[in-house]
């Protein structure tokens, strides 16, 4: 009996304490994950080298010169991060510094008043504003107000190729779509996959559509879609884009198993530098990763790069580019005043310092700061850096990645439909119709 009583007492005690325990844990939660406490701020960033080291060094340097305003960083994988940050913001648990790609996602944050309006702050700091490429502010602006600090580097989508494999085939990089189709045959006959693709990530496949639509229909087609004009997706250029993609898939243009390869694991890059695939359409950011992981593939000059081929009869300017004009950092509206101050200080003094700019250049990226031409030209990677710089600077239209430009709802529908288009489980016509139904969502 005594035993029973004691256990009953502990049960009751537990029952009495539990609500407080729950309250205590939830109270911890509201202060935000990764909260640094004191005068610090929290930030979530993408894992993966070389950028993870660069940003960690920047944060450490900022922390040692501002011991009271340390930044606590947590790293996440790209695709996991995109979901997690949205959920965290919806739950009021966002980190102080909200990393992203601007565009449609930033617009939903801004319209829900989840991120700070930085317009007046930028006006008060003209030096900072003038430091960056003017074009990089486009995707940071919602309804005429700036909600994010552009940073890091400009990242156009580039056609990479393996020079060794091309030499073996005695081939030249494709200039037109006909070249592409004949190269597909050449490489398939050699037993090498023509194009590497991490199709399970889906935004990788999307990059093909971005360039094709731009080359076929010109910048106006996507601009109409972006503006939500009626039947914008039903443009004949969209259907021709889908048709071209399915022709390429049918011809065996992509590596076997492309729809089960993810880009997060960098398997698509590995296929290129191991010579299992001849070409890869990917972001310029993969240059740094391949330089790091590909043994001496990049250093030995075996990596080639070119602009996207032209389409016969296409309306688009062949100089047009697509990709990410920059990366962006916003400040959570839910953060405390001291956290916001720390974040602004970090934006001003910590994030794009000369050390960081040099680190980006050394890793093969073009930082979005003005007046870096000399630095680019003296870099061992000058060929690639100048190529990217010229592409970004001379492009009559630099289209932001669709999945970032569109609203999250439309973007998810787009990625899902692209996946099915590549699998040929829907026709180009169905693709256009399915996407047309998402206009205005």
């Amino acid at each position: 009996m005594r035993q029973f009583q004691s256990s009953r007492r502990s049960f009751l005690a537990l029952a009495a304490v539990t609500p407080f325990a729950v309250m205590a844990t939830s109270a911890c939660g509201t202060s935000g994950p990764g909260s640094a406490g004191g005068g610090g701020a929290s930030m979530w960033f993408l894992s993966g080298e070389p950028n993870q080291t660069t940003i960690q060094k920047a944060v450490d340097a900022f922390g040692s010169s501002n011991p009271d305003n340390k930044i606590a960083v947590t790293y996440f994988q790209n695709d996991a991060f995109k979901t997690k940050i949205k959920t965290a913001i919806g739950a009021g648990q966002a980190p102080t510094i909200v990393y992203g790609w601007g565009g449609g996602t930033l617009k939903t944050y801004a319209e829900a008043k989840q991120v700070e309006d930085l317009t007046t702050w930028f006006d008060a700091n003209p030096d900072l504003k003038n430091k960056f490429f003017p074009a990089s502010f486009g995707a940071a602006t919602v309804n005429g107000k700036i909600y994010a600090l552009p940073n890091q580097y400009v990242a156009p989508i580039v056609l990479f190729y393996n020079k060794e494999v091309f030499a073996k085939a005695g081939a030249q990089p494709p200039k037109t779509w006909d070249d592409v189709m004949s190269l597909v045959k050449t490489f398939n006959d050699m037993g090498v996959a023509p194009f590497s693709l991490g199709g399970q990530s889906r935004w990788t496949s999307m990059m093909w559509l971005e360039y094709l639509l731009d080359r076929i229909g010109g910048a106006e087609v996507f601009n109409a879609i972006f503006a939500g004009k009626p039947n914008a997706w039903m443009d004949p250029a969209v259907i021709e884009t889908g048709t071209k993609i399915q022709e390429l898939v049918s011809a065996g243009g992509f590596i076997k198993g492309f729809s089960s390869i993810t880009a997060d694991s960098k398997a698509d890059q590995a296929l290129l530098f191991t010579g299992k695939a001849a070409m890869m359409l990917q972001g310029s950011w993969t240059y740094g990763a391949m330089k790091k992981d590909g043994q001496n593939f990049v250093q030995d000059g075996k990596l080639g790069f070119a602009t996207f081929p032209t389409i016969p009869g296409g309306k688009g300017d062949p100089k047009n580019g697509v990709g990410n004009p920059a990366q962006y950092m916003s400040i959570s509206a839910k953060a405390s005043d001291s956290e916001k101050e720390t974040a602004k200080k970090f934006f001003k003094d910590g994030i794009m310092t000369d050390t960081v700019i040099d680190a980006y250049i050394n890793s093969g990226s073009v930082p979005i700061v003005n007046g870096i031409e000399d630095k680019l030209s003296t870099s061992p990677d000058k060929d690639f850096l100048n190529f990217v710089y010229d592409l970004a600077k001379n492009a009559p239209n630099f289209q932001q990645s669709w999945d970032q430009a569109l609203s999250p709802t439309a973007a998810e529908a787009l990625l899902n439909n692209i996946d099915q288009l590549f699998l040929k489980s829907i026709t180009p016509q169905q693709f256009a119709e399915n996407m047309n139904a998402t206009l205005g969502k």
């Binding site: 949205k86 913001i89 919806g90 319209e111 076997k256 999250p408 709802t409």
Partner: protein, 309 residues
């Protein structure tokens, strides 16, 4: 045993005469459980029901949507694709897992020493988390860098996760690989509960191993089968992590089961309302299936299996 514990044990057995007093104290014991059930089960359940009639993108303000979410989800072919896949995986998983785990359970319930060693092997997958299992399989099955190429067996280098039919089959296989050990454990426990006297009597009557299996083991395992099947069937509604990591619902929508569909709608497409509709549908299906299987067990299920011997 010390004298004080003997004393305490005597106290406890004596106190059993005052059962009514103890019984009246028992409802208090359920309070913590009831509290957790309310906070973590009932409140979210009601919340989801409310959200299924709301217009919410997960970030901004919540507005009323009336029947809009329900209408849009119920007319969406994606729902029926997800429902079909969910039931397909449920049924095929049951058909694959039940015989294997039943036989393994009967086998490992034996007492020879080598069986214990084998049983450890069988139970190994049980120790791994779904995410780890999925990542490992993904790496092994990679058509370019996977196990098949490593072993020099190119015929095994299929595009396992990239072809819709193969991917679905593979998902079912990996699920079975992961969950068979758990159900084997349940069956092992069930078999060990069967009184030895039954087998002794059968042996005297001249029944062989196979006859013993079909006339004693299987009927005696009736409730174990129902328990295991309930867990399997209702559990299959919540398969998520493994498929999410393995295929992400793809290729296309070929492995986008209901639970995954709910997640992708809610957290990827910012459509919390339609995602809540799917959640409600999942709850209803789960309850219906659990009740159905309970029925199958008959009314005497709660009684001891040893009664009437």
């Amino acid at each position: 045993m010390s004298s004080s514990t003997t004393h305490r044990a005597a106290n406890v057995s004596r106190s059993s005469e005052r059962r009514p007093a103890q019984k009246s104290a028992l409802p208090w014991l359920t309070l913590p459980a009831l509290f957790f059930f309310l906070v973590f089960a009932v409140v979210p359940l009601v919340g989801v029901l409310v959200l299924s009639f709301a217009d919410w993108d997960g970030i901004g303000a919540i507005g009323a949507a009336g029947m809009e979410n329900w209408a849009s989800v119920l007319t969406d072919p994606g729902l029926y694709n997800a429902l079909g896949l969910t039931f397909m995986i449920m049924i095929v998983s049951w058909l694959v897992q039940t015989p294997i785990s039943l036989l393994l359970g009967v086998f490992t319930a034996g007492s020879q020493r080598y069986r214990a060693a084998l049983a450890v092997l069988y139970f190994l997958p049980l120790l791994l988390s779904s995410a780890a299992v999925a990542i490992a399989y993904k790496a092994l099955l990679d058509p370019n860098f996977g196990l098949a190429m490593g072993l020099g067996l190119p015929f095994l280098a299929q595009d396992w996760l990239g072809v819709p039919q193969l991917a679905l089959g593979l998902v079912i296989f990996v699920i079975a690989w992961q969950f068979v050990p758990f159900h084997t454990l349940i069956y092992q426990g069930g078999v060990r509960q069967i009184p030895k006297s039954l087998y002794e009597a059968a042996q005297i009557d001249g029944a062989g191993t196979i006859k013993q299996f079909f006339h004693i083991t299987l009927p005696q395992l009736k409730y174990t089968i129902i328990t295991s099947s309930t867990l399997m069937v209702v559990g299959s509604l919540t398969y998520f992590d493994l498929i999410f990591v393995l295929t992400g619902g793809g290729p296309g929508n070929s492995t986008r089961i209901l639970a995954l569909d709910m997640y992708l709608r809610g957290f990827r497409a910012n459509l919390m309302g339609p995602a809540s509709v799917i959640a409600v549908i999942l709850v209803v299906i789960g309850l219906a299936l659990a009740l159905f299987l309970q029925r199958l067990g008959g009314k005497d299920k709660q009684g001891s299996q040893l009664e009437g011997l």
